[in-house]
């Protein structure tokens, strides 16, 4: 195949707002930053149930699932999403990121669950983008 074909591979991301929190500025900002990094970003909109996020992630065949949670409900919502992805054989090859307010103790737990990284407030965009670029191809 030609080099041109290799370059055409585009990173696809789903930026998801799960649960009841209505603050989506961060989700909008990261969507825009990902877009400017050349990614294709699907934005879920507010107030999504875990099932809806799973449906979107499976149908859209995303490489990256970015979950934005500011409500503190990550310990209930994230496991549901992960279980749903497993059900559709989509967990293994989806890079899962969590963004928002997550206490340090919970952070460890999320990482153990299969989340690849947790980005708190004030994380520079470049750091998140770089993380995606470096890790998206490594999944097996």
């Amino acid at each position: 195949m030609s080099t041109q074909e290799q370059e055409e591979r585009t990173i696809r991301c789903l930026i998801a707002k799960v649960g009841l929190d209505g603050h989506d500025r961060g989700a909008h900002v990261i969507s825009r930053a990902f877009r400017d990094a050349g990614f294709e970003v699907i934005y879920s909109g507010l107030h999504r149930a875990p099932d809806e996020i799973v449906q979107a992630a499976v149908q859209e065949d995303v490489d990256v699932l970015g979950i934005s949670i500011l409500s503190g409900a990550h310990n209930t919502l994230v496991p549901k999403i992960i279980a749903g992805l497993e059900e559709y054989d989509a967990f293994e090859d989806t890079l899962i990121l969590v963004g928002g307010i997550v206490p340090d103790d919970d952070r460890e737990e999320l990482l153990e669950m299969g989340v690849s990284a947790v980005f708190g407030p004030g994380t520079p965009m470049e750091e998140t983008i770089e993380f995606v670029r470096e890790n998206v191809h490594d999944r097996t």
Partner: protein
């Protein structure tokens, strides 16, 4: 894509299993171990696995190794779905209307695939695909397979991969496939080449009657929808559209049925007579309020009427033939293009040639002759 090479790969890697397919997706460059599971992927898709369908569409979009084999395997399973294109200017309410349309078909027991195309950045190639947000009526219903696509730099309102993605949904067994185009401009009319029935959305008050005379998007509609019909000016827009439709002597001939290029007067008259025999399609104008669902039933009826007309008049088969002819041409063009790129690289790259033109040593036409000459000779020799 080198056809022979990819065939070799599929033969060699056919036992690579599921893990191989994932590895192949991660690194499009890995070829041999990556493209071996195409037939497995196709089998999974035909069995109704959503993940396989999603993955096939990604491969199509990425033009990843082996995608052509997948599409050609799928082809024989296609031809059952009814393909509906929805186009119109940005903000006309396409997504909301598509959502309600999908819901109506689902309530009727049919399965639906939706492809929503959004624009991509001309600078970075990135895109924000936001139409999924408006699929509120169908969340949690896996039998509506909604897929967002970026235009990936193509103009015309669709991605070049869209028609292949439609085939994937068709083979998967969707009864209806709805394509929502990029919030199309006046000349973004690609959807007629992919959809059987084209539905054009117009907003009330979207221009004076001269707009209705212009060539482009208003020529391609099989069904017109004045959405947001509760807004001021809706009835005037309906009247203007109806006037436009009655002024049509031969509806969208060039685009619709593939009657070729420029025609002379005699041929034109002949075509007109033909049409009188088989009763030309006269588009309906439907008023809807997509947010509330008003008028959606009328729209579904109008779309069904067009489908019936397509089948009974023979226009459907004619359309399909035109579509495949165009597809063959397009594939050949892109293959030839790739061959020429190879040839250019062999000759030191296009920039070196451009420098020679810049120095006035030669000119673009001479270079084209020089590069193309041997290829043309070769092909002509083989033909004899």
């Amino acid at each position: 894509m080198n056809r022979a090479e990819s065939d070799g790969q599929s033969a060699e890697g056919s036992d690579a299993g599921r893990a191989g397919s994932d590895a192949g997706r991660d690194e499009p460059g890995t070829g041999p171990d990556g493209s071996g599971t195409e037939s497995e992927l196709v089998a999974d898709l035909l069995e109704g696995k959503h993940r396989a369908l999603a993955r096939v569409i990604s491969k199509i979009e990425d033009r990843s190794p082996g995608y052509r084999d997948i599409v050609s395997e799928l082809h024989r399973h296609t031809g059952e779905a009814e393909v509906i294109g929805v186009t119109g200017s940005p903000g006309a309410g396409k997504s909301t209307l598509v959502d309600k349309l999908a819901k109506t078909y689902r309530d009727d027991g049919q399965t639906v695939g939706v492809i929503a195309v959004d624009p991509s950045s001309p600078y970075t190639g990135g895109a924000v695909l936001g139409d999924r947000i408006r699929m509120a009526s169908n969340v949690g219903d896996m039998d509506v397979f909604f897929r967002s696509m970026s235009a990936r730099g193509t103009l015309g309102g669709l991605s070049t991969a869209t028609s292949d993605a439609v085939k994937a949904l068709d083979a998967f067994g969707k009864d209806k496939v709805i394509i929502e185009t990029v919030g199309a401009g006046q000349n973004e009319v690609d959807v007629v080449r992919t959809a059987d029935t084209v539905c054009v959305l117009v907003q009330p008050g979207s221009g004076d009657d001269v707009q209705m005379l212009k060539a482009g998007i208003l020529e391609i509609g099989d069904v017109f929808v004045v959405n947001k019909a509760d807004m001021d000016g809706a009835s005037r827009t309906v009247a203007e559209l109806e006037e436009m439709i009655h002024m049509r002597e031969s509806p969208a001939k060039n685009l619709d049925t593939g009657h070729h290029g420029p025609v002379d007067e005699a041929e034109m008259a002949e075509v007109a007579i033909d049409d009188a025999d088989e009763e030309a399609w006269e588009p309906d104008v439907i008023e809807t309020v997509a947010t509330s669902g008003d008028g959606i039933a009328d729209l579904v009826e109008a779309l069904a009427a067009h489908r019936t007309w397509l089948e009974e008049s023979g226009a459907l088969a004619e359309k399909a033939r035109t579509r495949y002819a165009e597809e063959i041409r397009q594939l050949l063009r892109s293959d030839t293009g790739r061959l020429l790129e190879e040839e250019l690289a062999e000759r030191g790259g296009v920039n070196a040639l451009a420098d020679r033109v810049l120095e006035r040593e030669t000119d673009p036409y001479s270079i084209a002759d020089e590069v193309m000459g041997p290829i043309a000779d070769c092909v002509r020799d083989r033909r004899e």
